[in-house]
Amino acid sequence: MAETTVANTGQPQELLPGMQGFVADWSSDQRAFKKVSWGKAMMWIFLLSDTFIFSCFLISYMTVRMSTTVPWPNPSKVFALHIGGQDIPLILIAIMTFVLISSSGTMAMAVNFGYRRDRVKTAVLMLVTAAFGATFVSMQAFEWTKLISEGVRPWGNPWGAPQFGSTFFMITGFHGTHVTIGVIFLLIIARKVWRGDFDTGRPGFMTGRKGRYEIVEIMGLYWHFVDLVWVFIFAFFYLW
């Protein structure tokens, strides 16, 4: 039994392209995701589960908004800022969107430099990404403070349907938590890259295994996902 297993894994298999490859991969022994390490595959599967969690939030938001007989507060006015003597609609949210997209751009480049084994550029770009992320969370904290001071609560608000507050705090709060965790994750990996852990093969914390530059890409997947979720929140909660 053991020998046949070894024999099967030891042989480099010929990989078929396209639809034939899809069937062959899934029906093959031991390993469906070829050319993808377990770390990356597991991150993708985690992100898939997270997709369902955020979907549940957005679908419940849709449900309460569609079923209420009380008018829904106009997000364009609720999230307007008073700048230079006039109200500019949704401006803070627009800036937050641009900040998060910029962080995704720098993250994508960090992944690229990681695979080129450019230690310094990778670390610096990751730190820039973390800085953008921290800026985003700070702006969200400002937005929450503003709304709470205007009387928005999970059980009511001055402008209309009380469900506005509960869905707002739930959805943006959960997303903000993801960004915060992402920033911490970024700082940890950036430190490892900066120190050269992946060049010298230094074993990780609490493990004898050596890290690889691939962790930068896995980290990147998480970060892009956070940006991706914001795309949907921006469309459905703020613009709809």
Binding site: M1, A2, T5, V6, T9, G10, G18, G21, F22, D25, F33, K34, K35, V36, S37, W38, A41, W44, I45, L47, L48, F52, S55, I59, S60, M62, M66, S67, T69, S76, P89, L90, A94, T97, F98, I101, S102, S104, G105, M107, A108, M109, N112, Y115, R116, R212, Y213, E214, E217, H224, F225, D227, L228, V231, F232, F234, A235, Y238, L239, W240
Partner: protein, 123 residues
Amino acid sequence: MAQATGHAPAQLAAHAAAHEEAQQHPIKLYLVVWGWLFLLSLFSYLVDFFHLQGLLRWSLILLFMMLKAGLIVAVFMHMAWERLTLIYAILIPPTLLLVFIAIMAVESDYTHWLRELFFRLGT
């Protein structure tokens, strides 16, 4: 079995090496996608800024949203260069959400109708 697991790290390293070669794209690609994401976000902001309403507003919001999501997943998350096996495993399950959305839309329509009936007309 013990032997099989002993072989795994070497095999993974080989996979990783092959993978690293596959992920070399010019930086320009990321800058172009970045530019498009900025532009699409600006467009969706302008939809609100110019107070577009009704079907036009919703279809534009959804269009820009899907384009942005597609660019992020395909290029930034490298999905475009993955094998079909992973692409299907990750992208097909979320399409089932459309069924969930449809069910909840019908349900909330019904709730809304009941509320209209009893909260407004009934009293």
